[in-house]
Every structure is written in structure tokens, then in C-alpha cells.
């Protein structure tokens, strides 16, 4: 929801990033205020996941320009774990499998780390077990996912649910959900989207990266951005997503060409 005079959580200005000397992000501007839900759409390879991983602090990307303020802090100076502790959360497009680490052990470690940072009470294994089971009910997850290794052998949809479970546990200020809808069946999409909606409130914010209107029917965005070749080329309201759904991305391309033609 767009809230009058709400605080800015994230402010990205002219962000440029490259990997192995190849420029991927070419000047991104984005402001996210508390309470807001933003959707980022765009063709495959346009840089959406790169943007998400750069925000989360992936070391493979070199920042070549611009700035990012997160809750008034210079985000780009922080190592990834401090970004997470400060309240930034990325639900990965492709969550990693970690054989040998029990999901419950991992979830509790993450939860307690963030709790400690916030000066809040940590939970012992028994307390945590009760707590996490409640959260899992919201996402209609079976409790045997707790005993299995992190994401190991999880189906695509199960991995996505496990990501949203982490979001529910960590209660981030800003959640970036990278294609959380991919791999989810219709029922799962509804359940997971409901879970996200229950976490969303006026004090936090969400960035949804998606290709499909289907998700945005459940989680209604305040803003829709279109990314193309490493830039946000257009921003609109939720109706922009509908337009993209019917018209695709080509017309934007035309638009941009004529725009740049005009400016030359």
C-alpha cells in the first residue's frame, strides 16, 4: 500500500554492476518506501536477478557506479550477512541445496542470528520447533521438511515455500522475492501468496520479480517496473502489468527507440 509520508526503506541511484568485466546493470534508479509493494518485470536476461543479488551482496558482482541506501545506511559497504541482519531478505530464484545441514538447524541459526541483532530473545531447539511449526502451517508445509537437509531433493515448489518460510521467520524490512511464483502450482501459488500478504504491513516493503500477472492477481503491487538491458525503462501502476501481459515487451522497445531517436 502507498502510505502518505512513509519512510524510505531503499533508495537506489544510478546503480551499475558488472560480472567478469561484462556490464549487466547500467544505471538503475529505484525508491521503495515502507508499506509498498513493487513488481519488477522484464525479459529473460534483462538483469532482474542480478539486481536482486547485487542488493543482497553477492561477491561475484563488481559495483561500477551509483549508490544504494538501505534504511539510511550505505548498503554497498555492508557484507551480505550484515545486510540480512539489517532486514534485507532475498528469496532466491534458484534456492541452493545444502546437503548435510538439517533445515531446522539452519532455520534456527538464521532466526537466532537475526533475533540477537535486534536484541530479542533467541530460541532453543524445542521452543523454535513450536514456533517454526506455526509458521509452516501458514504455508501448509509438512513438518518433515524440518528434518531434511536444506532444500535437498525438494521439488521446485517446495524450495520456493521454504524461501517464504524463511521470510516469515526473519520478518525482514525489505523482501526481494525473485520469481517466487515459478514452479508453484495454482494451489501453492495461492497459499504462498496469502502467506506473503500476511507478512506485508505498513512498516515493511516487498519487491516481487515476476514474469506473470497471475502472481500479481494475488499480491497486488503499488508499482510495476520494467527492466530492460540493465535499466528500469518504465514505471507504472498495477495496470502496466496487465498491459505487458497482453502486448508483451516489444512495444516498449519501439517506444524507447523512438524516444532515444527523438533525443538524438
Amino acid at each position: 500500500m502507498i502510505v502518505e509520508n512513509s519512510k524510505t526503506i531503499l533508495s537506489v541511484q544510478g546503480l551499475r554492476a558488472s560480472i567478469d568485466g561484462i556490464d549487466i546493470l547500467k544505471g538503475i534508479d529505484l525508491t521503495v518506501k515502507s508499506g509498498e509493494i513493487h513488481a519488477i518485470m522484464g525479459l529473460n536476461g534483462s538483469g532482474k536477478s542480478t539486481f536482486a543479488k547485487v542488493l543482497a551482496g553477492h561477491a561475484d558482482y563488481a559495483i561500477t557506479g551509483g549508490s544504494v541506501q538501505f534504511e539510511g545506511k550505505n548498503l554497498l559497504e555492508l557484507p551480505p550477512e550484515e545486510r540480512a541482519r539489517a532486514g534485507l531478505f532475498l528469496a532466491f530464484q534458484y534456492p541452493i541445496e545444502i546437503p548435510g545441514v538439517a533445515n531446522t538447524q539452519f532455520l534456527r541459526l538464521a532466526y537466532n542470528t537475526v533475533q540477537a541483532q535486534r536484541g530479542k530473545e533467541e530460541l532453543d531447539p524445542l521452543e523454535f520447533d513450536d514456533f517454526v511449526r506455526e509458521k509452516m502451517k501458514l504455508l501448509e508445509m509438512k513438518s518433515d521438511f524440518l528434518d531434511r537437509s536444506v532444500n535437498e531433493g525438494f521439488s521446485g515448489g517446495e524450495k520456493k515455500r521454504n524461501e517464504i518460510l524463511q521470510m516469515a521467520l526473519l520478518e525482514p524490512k525489505l523482501s526481494i522475492l525473485d520469481e517466487m511464483d515459478s514452479g508453484l502450482d495454482i494451489d501453492a501459488l495461492r497459499i504462498v501468496a496469502n502467506g506473503v500478504n500476511r507478512i506485508a504491513n505498513k512498516d515493511n516493503a516487498i519487491i516481487l520479480v515476476t514474469h506473470y500477472q497471475r502472481l500479481l492477481d494475488y499480491i497486488v503491487p503499488d508499482y510495476v517496473h520494467v527492466m530492460q538491458a540493465g535499466c528500469i525503462v518504465m514505471t507504472g501502476g498495477k495496470e502496466l502489468a496487465l498491459e505487458l501481459e497482453t502486448r508483451g515487451y516489444d512495444w516498449l522497445h519501439e517506444n524507447r527507440r523512438s524516444l532515444s531517436g527523438a533525443s538524438a
Partner: protein
């Protein structure tokens, strides 16, 4: 290693032989004599010996560590931290010498368990036939030395069709500085018996010493033995060990050996599937750092048809340490329908860590399944990032992933309290920074 150094080491060790023999029987004296003669015909191995290609023990040669003295001022409280609540039977050897007042043997009617000298006369018939018969000493100088100095040792015989539910803990404690000790174990499982043996090497101090140990395991038809071996010596120690297992028809041997390093450690495990349908399951984990060297040589010998062996060895190497794994599998010409698998997985935690892993398959039968594979890798950067993105620091993330790599092996230890102890050790031992 030069010839003088060789002489120094062997000469100084042999100077104190023969050890005082009290009521020893002729057969035992003879065994020691044979071993003593074998020492005389062998030399300390050098890297020119194929079996020692990666492991340079020349630093051992100048050491003139004398046999340890049979003295022990320890009380139970000194050792309690290693006691396992699951183990009803515990034999304690301090610097290789049996300490009765620290040992507990429950239910002596159910099995034969205790210190070798107590059985030399009463069980001469079995012992003469078994002791020193599994672990050959004519081709291994360290086994020969151990046998030449044979005096105390754990003797465990499980009678026919007897199931010993609680594990047996044999605790070898090192306390003296600059000595050599000769731990020895003999486990015999009669037909249809079942037992779990924990062979545990610990140190009370950071002293330098040499442990030269030999374990022999004989399993009769359908006998089952689980053998958990933990080497957690002082970082200054030299640990040279052999274990020889002979398996009869349809017997089952399961081994989990954990090496937590010392200056130089070497473990030879020889498993002979001497009769049909025998099975063995061999898991190993080496976790070393600094400038440690840990070498595991295993040989699984399929002598008869329908045998099964499964082996998994993992090394976690940090600092400038060097791990060696040599896994030999022999399938004799008539050992048809052998099914054998071997996997060696290695994790290097630093740029200067090193591992040499070598499968050595000698297959002379045609109808066999033999799978083997080896990998050497580092911690996965994407996995580290995933954990960091959830707020875990890099050190915690690396520790957790290292632990996860080890967990598969630790999970095969059937004693919960021991498994927990080792999990903690692994979690706290892996503190390296990536740079």
C-alpha cells in the same frame, strides 16, 4: 632418511628388548621372537617404498623414544570427559598399559573381556591360534615392532550367537612425553555374534609421543561387528596404526574411523573377505590442519565369491596439512559376483592444503560390479552466500558447510553421545578463514 638415522631409531627401540617376561607362555614368547626377528630384516620405510610414496616419516627417525613406563596416577575424573554413557564395558590403557581400576567390565559371564596377560594361560588355545595371525608382521615394520613388544592388550571374545547390545569402549590414553607405546586389541566374534567396539585414542596433554598400535579382528560365520575408531591424539604425536580384519562366511564388518590428526598419522586397514557372502562397510573421515600429515591406506581383499564392500572416505584439509588416501580393492579370480563401491571425497579449506587420493583396483574376476570415484573440491561459494544472505557470518557459514560435509560419515556412528562429541569437535575445529 639416512642409514645412521635408521639405525638410531630401531637400535634405540630394540635396546630394551626383550621386555621382562613373567608368566608368559612359550607360544607368546615365540610370537614375540618371530616379530623381533622380522624387525631385524626390515627397514623404516621411505618415500621410495610404494606404500609410503606420499608420506615422509623421516622426522620419526631421529627420535629415540623409549617404551612407555607402566605407571599411572590417573583417577576416573581425569578421564571422565571421554567416558561414554552407552558403554557398559570399558577397558582403559594408559600409555599402552592396562589400568584395572579405571576399567569396568560388566557381566563377565556373557563374554571374555579384559587384558591379555590375564588370558594367556586360560585361553591359550584360542589366543595362540588368533593373536598375531591376522596382522602380518613380516611386511610391516611397525606391526612387527608392536608384536615384538606385545604385553598388555585388549582381548574381547564374543561367544557363539551372543549379542552384546552395549558398545565396548577401549580407551587408549597417552600421558607420557617422548615415549613409544604399543596399544593392542584383539576382537573375536564367534559364529552369529554381534558386538560394537569403540577403539579410542586420546591424549591428556599436548606431549610428543609415538603410538604404534595394532588391532586384529576375526569374525566367524554370520558374526557382525561394528568398529568405531577415533584417533584424537596430541598435535605433536606420531600415530602409526594397523588394523587387520578377517571375515568368514556371511559375516558383516562395519568400520567408521575418524582421524583428527597429529603430527603424522598413518592408518592401515586391511579387510579380508575370506569366505563367501561376507560384507563390509568402511567409512572414514580425516580432519586435519596446520602442518599435519594423515595417511589412510585401506585394502579390501575379496577372496571368495558373492562378497560386498562399500567404502566412503572423506578428508577435510585445512592450513598446510596433507591428507593421503589410498584405497586398494582386490578381487581374486574366483571371487565372482563381487559387488564393491568406493568413494573418496575431499574438501580443501585453504590454498595450501593438499590431498593425494588414489583408488587402486586389482580385479582378476570378470563377473564383478566395481564402482569408484574421487573428488577434490572447495566449499561452494554459492552455498556460503546463501547462508550469509540469511545473516550467518562467513565463519559460521564455512563451519556449517564443513560440518555438513563431515556429517555423512559421523552419522554412521551408532553411539549418540560419541557422535555428539565428534560433531562438536568438527564444528569447532573448522575455523579457517578463506584468505
Amino acid at each position: 632418511m639416512n642409514a645412521t638415522a635408521q639405525l638410531d631409531y630401531l637400535a634405540s627401540l630394540l635396546k630394551c628388548w626383550p621386555i621382562k617376561q613373567t608368566e608368559a607362555q612359550a607360544w607368546l614368547n615365540q610370537l614375540r621372537m618371530q616379530a623381533f626377528d622380522c624387525v631385524g630384516t626390515q627397514k623404516l620405510p621411505t618415500r621410495r617404498d610404494e606404500e609410503w610414496r606420499f608420506t615422509d616419516i623421516s622426522s620419526l627417525a631421529p627420535l629415540t623414544y623409549q617404551p612407555s613406563r607402566p605407571e599411572c596416577n590417573l583417577q576416573a575424573r581425569d578421564l571422565e570427559r571421554w567416558y561414554l554413557k552407552e558403554a557398559k564395558h570399558r577397558l582403559v590403557f594408559v600409555d599402552g598399559h592396562y589400568v584395572g581400576h579405571l576399567s569396568t567390565v560388566a557381566d563377565p559371564l556373557q563374554l571374555t573381556i579384559g587384558n591379555l596377560p590375564d588370558f594367556v594361560s586360560s585361553h591359550a588355545a584360542i589366543l595362540e591360534f588368533q593373536l598375531g595371525r591376522h596382522a602380518a608382521f613380516d611386511r610391516n615394520i611397525f606391526t612387527a615392532l608392536n608384536t615384538a613388544f606385545l604385553r598388555d592388550g585388549a582381548v574381547i571374545c564374543i561367544p557363539k550367537n551372543t549379542v552384546i547390545a552395549e558398545p565396548i569402549h577401549v580407551l587408549f590414553v597417552a600421558t607420557q612425553n617422548e615415549v613409544t607405546s604399543y596399544p593392542r586389541c584383539l576382537l573375536l566374534g564367534e559364529a552369529g555374534s554381534q558386538v560394537t567396539l569403540i577403539e579410542d585414542y586420546v591424549a591428556l596433554s599436548q606431549s610428543a609421543y609415538i603410538t604404534n598400535s595394532v588391532t586384529e579382528i576375526g569374525l566367524a560365520a554370520n558374526a557382525h561387528a561394528k568398529h568405531i575408531r577415533i584417533q584424537r591424539d596430541s598435535p605433536q604425536a606420531f600415530h602409526l596404526a594397523s588394523c587387520a580384519v578377517s571375515q568368514a562366511h556371511a559375516s558383516h564388518y562395519q568400520s567408521v574411523s575418524i582421524s583428527l590428526g597429529s603430527q603424522i598419522s598413518r592408518y592401515n586397514l586391511d579387510v579380508k573377505l575370506a569366505d563367501e557372502a561376507a560384507e563390509c562397510d568402511i567409512d572414514g573421515l580425516t580432519l586435519i590442519a596446520d602442518r599435519q600429515l594423515a595417511d589412510t591406506h585401506t585394502c579390501i581383499d575379496h577372496a571368495k565369491p558373492n562378497g560386498t564392500s562399500r567404502q566412503q572416505h572423506k578428508c577435510i584439509v585445512d592450513g598446510s596439512a596433507h591428507a593421503v588416501f589410498n584405497g586398494k580393492i582386490v578381487v581374486h579370480p574366483h571371487a565372482q559376483r563381487t559387488n564393491s563401491s568406493q568413494s573418496s571425497r575431499n574438501l580443501l579449506l585453504s590454498k595450501t592444503a593438499q590431498v593425494d587420493t588414489k583408488p587402486q583396483l586389482e580385479i582378476f574376476a570378470d563377473d564383478v560390479k566395481c564402482a569408484h570415484g574421487a573428488t577434490v573440491g572447495q566449499l561452494d561459494r554459492e552455498e556460503i552466500f546463501y547462508l550469509e544472505s540469511r545473516g550467518l557470518s562467513e565463519v559460521v557459514a564455512r563451519n556449517l558447510l564443513t560440518y555438513a560435509f563431515a556429517a555423512e560419515i559421523l552419522s554412521r556412528i551408532p553411539i549418540v553421545s560419541l557422535k555428539r562429541q565428534l560433531e562438536q569437535t568438527v564444528l569447532s575445529r573448522t575455523r579457517s578463514n578463506p584468505s
